[in-house]
Structures are given as C-alpha cells and as structure tokens.
C-alpha cells in the first residue's frame, strides 16, 4: 500500500526546474512565414549561446529563456533588423561569450594564425628530414 502511494506520488510530482507557468513565447517554437527571414533567423540562432544550458545554442535548447531569445531574434528579423545588429545587441549585454562565431578582434589573431604557423613548422621538419635522407 505504501509502495503504491509512493509510486502514485512520484507520478504526480513535477520536477522543481525553475520553469514558469507561462506558455512559451509566440515565436519560440514557430517559424517565420517568410522562408528567407526564417533562414536568416535560424542561422543566427545556431550561433547564439543559450544563457541557461551554456554550451548549447538557443536553436537547440529547450530552456524557457532560450525560447524567449528565439522569440526576440525572430521578431527583430521580421521587423527588418539585420542578424549582425541583433548579435551586436546581445554581445553588448552579455559579452563576446554569447556568440559562437569566433571573434576577429586582435586578441584572437594568434588563434587564427596557429594553423598556418603549425603548417610551416611541420613543413620545415619534413623538409629537414628529406634533405638529410638524400645526403
């Protein structure tokens, strides 16, 4: 009897997930009617970080705040705003961290240069070995 009551209780229990009782925002799970605009919104949403499930994009995340961010992105795109303006608006508030697109600021230049440097480095080693073998 106790076990059944416990099982029933567990069935009825809802997890305390910090979710509000409000339904998702209008554009959270709806595509824009204009396919071109929706494609633009999708591309941007893939590159914006969810503030709750950090590591997921807002396109992937089911967090409420991610839904609200998708709503914000779609509404602004529908209003004619450029994706880069929306990205800049969010970066202004949350820092570069909120965008997955790698920064082209001087601080990231060593990172962009790294593949080239490694390639030259590897090339130099290979060239050195080949020369030694021949002689």
């Amino acid at each position: 009897m106790k076990a059944i009551a416990l099982a029933l209780g567990l069935l009825l229990a809802t997890p305390a997930l910090g979710q509000s009782n409000m339904p998702p925002s209008y554009w959270a799970y709806r595509q824009l009617p204009d396919a071109k605009q929706e494609a633009k919104a999708q591309a941007l949403m893939q590159e914006l970080r969810c503030l709750v499930c950090q590591g997921q994009s807002i396109a992937d995340s089911d967090a409420e705040l991610a839904g609200d961010m998708r709503d914000l992105v779609r509404r602004r795109i529908a209003a004619g705003e450029k994706p880069e303006q929306i990205r800049a608006w969010l970066i202004e508030r949350y820092g570069d961290w909120v965008s997955y697109r790698p920064s082209t600021a001087p601080i990231a230049w060593p990172l962009w240069a790294a593949p080239l440097v490694l390639l030259i480095f590897g090339g130099a080693i290979v060239a050195g070995r080949l020369k030694r073998k021949r002689s």
Binding site: N21, M22, S25, L51, Q54, E64, D68, R93, Y94, G128
Partner: protein
C-alpha cells in the same frame, strides 16, 4: 636540429596538460554577468504586474535617489527566500522596484500576499524582453541603480541577510 628543438614537443605537451589540470582544479565560473554595469538602465516600459502597484519604466530611475531593481518570479523558489531580505531592506528605507519575469497577475499577487510586498513599482515582463535587455540570465537578480539611473552593481542569485549592510553602505555612498 639542436637538442632543445627536439624537446619542444614534450614541452608543449606538458604545457597543454598543465592547462587541462588548471581548468580541472579551478573550473570556470558559469555565472553570467551583465555587461551593463556602469552603464545607463536601457530604455523600457513595462505594464503593472498587479492591480494597485504601478508599472515600471526606465524613466523611473534617474530620480536623484539610488534604487534597487529586483528581478523575480512567483514561480522562482529562491525568490521566496529572498523576499524577507528585501522586506528588511525596505524597512531600512531602501527603495526597491521589481520586474516580474514570465508571470501572471494572479501569480504575482499571490506571491506578494504570501511573502510581503517590498516593491514601490512592479513591471510585468512576460517574454523576458527586459531581462534580456538588462543582460540578466535568471531570477532572482538584483541591480543597484544610482541616482542618475546608471547601473552600479549586479547581484546574481538571491541576496541574503549578510548582503544587507553592504547594500545599504553602497546606496549611502551613491546618494
């Protein structure tokens, strides 16, 4: 090729392993902080969340008096714990404005009835728009706004009784 040059891969490997060890021992802080600290409160207009308490606009700051801006939700459990601290601050003369995130009128009025109302104004933000405009990522969060409407500090998570003296001292300084 010198000997030092041959050791380079090992040095690099040790360096990478040390980097891993450092982040494993000291994981990065996942707290999302607003970049708007020391910037003006962004423009917004919010309808009242409940009857009897006025709504909130960004023009309600910059009134010559520092204020607290508290983001909360009746569905947010840590906000219940914070409610008594906000009441204590209000009793000590601190002006507090609230923004109810993703909430309903009945939800907010029930919350105020159960846990008291320390707020001078409460705006309703049903789609988290103003929360995003403020650079906030959750509830509860509290901003200290100075007398000219500039955000001076952000508290992420519930403020506790131990934060009260610090908040009062900071508001005194901004007066």
């Amino acid at each position: 090729m010198s000997r030092a040059f041959r050791l380079l891969p090992i040095i690099l490997l040790v360096w990478v392993l040390l980097a891993f060890a450092w982040r494993l021992i000291q994981p990065p802080d996942p707290t999302v902080r607003s970049q708007l600290v020391n910037r003006e409160v962004p423009h917004f207009v919010l309808q009242p969340a409940v009857a009897g308490v006025p709504g909130l606009t960004s023009a309600d700051f910059a009134t010559g008096e520092p204020r607290l801006l508290n983001l909360f939700g009746s569905w947010c459990i840590p906000c219940i714990g914070e409610a008594s601290v906000l009441e204590e601050l209000q009793r000590k003369g601190v002006k507090i404005d609230g923004i109810a995130i993703r909430d309903t009128e009945s939800g907010v009025s029930g919350f105020l009835k159960r846990h008291g109302n320390p707020y001078a104004r409460i705006g309703s933000d049903p789609n988290s728009n103003v929360q995003l405009a403020l650079g906030s990522a959750g509830v509860p969060e509290t901003f200290i706004v100075d007398s000219s409407g500039v955000i001076r500090r952000q508290y992420v998570g519930p403020i506790g009784a131990s934060d009260v003296p610090g908040i009062i001292a900071e508001l005194e300084k901004l007066r």
